[in-house]
């Protein structure tokens, strides 16, 4: 299979920060590839290099067979890019924004309506509203439509679902899968670990470097320590007490439960004993298998 994106030893520095450090990565045509990492990891810089907006200091990147520096003119129409920060014209209406992007690429809304129907349908009741007056999540949806309207081959989405509500996020990913099934290669960054789990492969990035590249299952398997889900009546006190416990490595809130990572060979019984000793009530402890979020947090911490 052809490679859609080849990144070879790419580096980029700004005044006093090394934003991207010797990154090499290959993404196949038709892949849905996730890029995850904390803010400041260099994800956005890497995106900007791949979409021809920034020149790398070193290294080489090729998208769809075209060099991002030398062939940038030819490459531009073949890619769609949704930047992380707001990219719309606040004084233009919803519809005007979209037709603007269509016109720039020599197409029309009607010609590619099929591609954006699912999301744009939700915005159409408000198509005459100024983009500046949209809610945070509505703006994200419009920006995605603008990135798709010229029917690109490769789609670059930099945190497209930040600020998007949980229902729309689900629909959004259903739509990404449909676009992907039509053959579109997608590189997407996200702070949501459930979304990372839906990619074919993911790369974890931190301080300009790639820490790991694997399938979601592979990333989960990187987690090797004992892990427990713990719950009790008083969550706040539970966190405090567990963090102070001699057997604890890390303790983080995970929805209804806390996730507790411990030293080797600690059992639920040990934890239970400790907590009842501290007068906790309704204690519930179960050993669990690490999810992608556990694994990612552990990796971040090990390299932090």
């Amino acid at each position: 299979m052809m490679d859609a994106i080849q990144i070879e030893q790419v580096s980029k520095a700004f005044a006093d920060t090394q934003a991207v450090s010797d990154v090499s990565l290959t993404i196949q045509a038709g892949e849905l590839f996730g890029l995850i990492g904390p803010d400041g990891a260099g994800k956005t810089t890497l995106f900007k290099i791949l979409v021809t907006l920034l020149r790398p200091d070193q290294g080489k990147a090729v998208v769809n067979g075209l060099d991002v520096v030398r062939d940038f003119r030819k490459l531009r129409p073949l890619i769609g890019y949704m930047p992380g920060r707001f990219s719309l014209y606040p004084d233009l209406s919803v519809e005007e924004n979209l037709s603007f992007f269509a016109t720039v690429f020599g197409t029309t809304i009607a010609a590619n309506y099929e591609l954006i129907r699912d999301i744009y349908g939700q915005l159409e009741p408000f198509k005459n509203r100024r983009a500046g007056a949209l809610s945070g999540g509505m703006k994200q949806k419009l920006a995605l439509c603008c990135a798709l309207i010229h029917k690109p081959d490769v789609l670059f989405l930099d945190e497209p679902t930040t600020g998007v509500d949980a229902v729309s996020r689900k629909e959004f990913w259903e739509m990404l899968h449909r676009l992907n099934e039509r053959g579109l290669t997608i590189l997407v960054s996200t702070p949501y670990m459930d979304e990372a789990g839906q990619c074919d492969r993911i790369a974890l990035m931190q301080t300009g470097r790639i820490l790991a590249v694997d399938t979601p299952g592979g990333v989960e398997n990187l987690f090797q320590k004992p892990l427990f889900a713990v719950k009790a009546r008083d969550t706040y006190r539970l966190i405090q007490d567990l963090r102070a416990a001699p057997f604890t490595e890390t303790c983080y809130a995970f929805g209804e439960y806390l996730h507790l990572t411990t030293r080797p060979s600690v059992t639920a019984g040990t934890i239970h004993g400790y907590l009842t000793g501290k007068q906790h009530e309704f204690v519930d402890i179960k050993p669990i298998k690490a999810g992608i979020e556990d694994s990612f947090m552990a990796l971040m911490q090990d390299h932090g």
Binding site: M138, G255, M300
Partner: protein, 244 residues
């Protein structure tokens, strides 16, 4: 004791469009209250009215007993507010931001200095205290913005999507700060699209198309809808008819 927040049929129209539609609810002092809803449901609009930044079209609301129509000055003194986009000055340094906000609330000079040192130390921002906020990672900015919103020890703090786009570890550190503030008695009024965070609230409301469609503890809501997560509840409730 006064309710932290109390509204009665609070409404905001923009022309023909009703962004917030007759919402009626109370928040008790000291509560962590999750204000959830789909995009465009009217959360930010409601918060702006509660903070005295936007005049309601009709209905009433009080914040710590102060009226949102007539007592916006008093409201400003008892609340902290972190807006959805960003509430720090990017071209001021960390220390300058703290001084600036403290100054707005009339904190005396020595108190300002003490607060600035305390915040910088707690957040471990010592090495960047004199750097421009623009150069900080988002997660640091958000934790700083939260501390700044608390600089005058408000009774209630409104946080509009404080963790949007923040990485998993920093997001949890942010919630540690929320828990600490709540433990000291500050009322927390918070919006989020992370459904695991909804579980950390004492009670949550879910807005759909400008109205509050459900309001209860996370446990009661999950039970009522027969699902095992707040995400499950949200998936059932949140999709309205017109607003997406």
């Amino acid at each position: 004791m006064d309710k932290a927040v109390s509204t009665d049929k609070l409404t905001k129209r923009f022309g023909d469009f009703v962004a917030t539609n007759e919402i009626t609810f109370d928040v008790a002092q000291g509560e962590i209250f999750g204000f959830l809803g789909a995009n465009g449901a009217g959360k930010t609009t409601a918060i702006r009215m509660l903070c005295g930044l936007l005049k309601p079209t009709s209905g009433s609301a009080t914040i710590a007993g102060f009226d949102v129509y007539r007592q916006t000055e008093q409201i400003k003194q008892v609340i902290g507010y972190m807006s959805q986009r960003f509430s720090l000055y990017e071209d001021l340094t960390v220390r300058e931001n703290i001084r600036f906000y403290g100054g707005i609330y009339g904190l005396p000079k020595t108190e300002l200095r003490r607060k600035a040192d305390e915040i910088i130390q707690t957040l471990e921002l010592g090495t960047v205290a004199d750097k421009l906020v623009a150069s900080l990672p988002l997660g640091w900015k958000q934790r700083l913005a939260f501390s700044v919103a608390l600089v005058h020890d408000p009774r209630i703090v409104f946080l509009d999507e404080p963790t949007g786009g923040v990485d998993p570890i920093t997001r949890r550190q942010f919630w540690d700060m929320i828990y600490e503030a709540a433990n000291r008695g500050t009322t927390i009024f918070v919006t989020t699209h992370y459904m695991d965070e909804a579980e950390y609230c004492n009670r949550v409301s879910i807005m759909v198309d400008g109205r509050i469609k459900a309001l209860d503890t996370p446990a009661a809501m999950k039970q009522a809808f027969g699902v095992d997560s707040m995400d499950g509840v949200f998936q059932i409730l949140a999709r309205g008819t017109s607003t997406k």
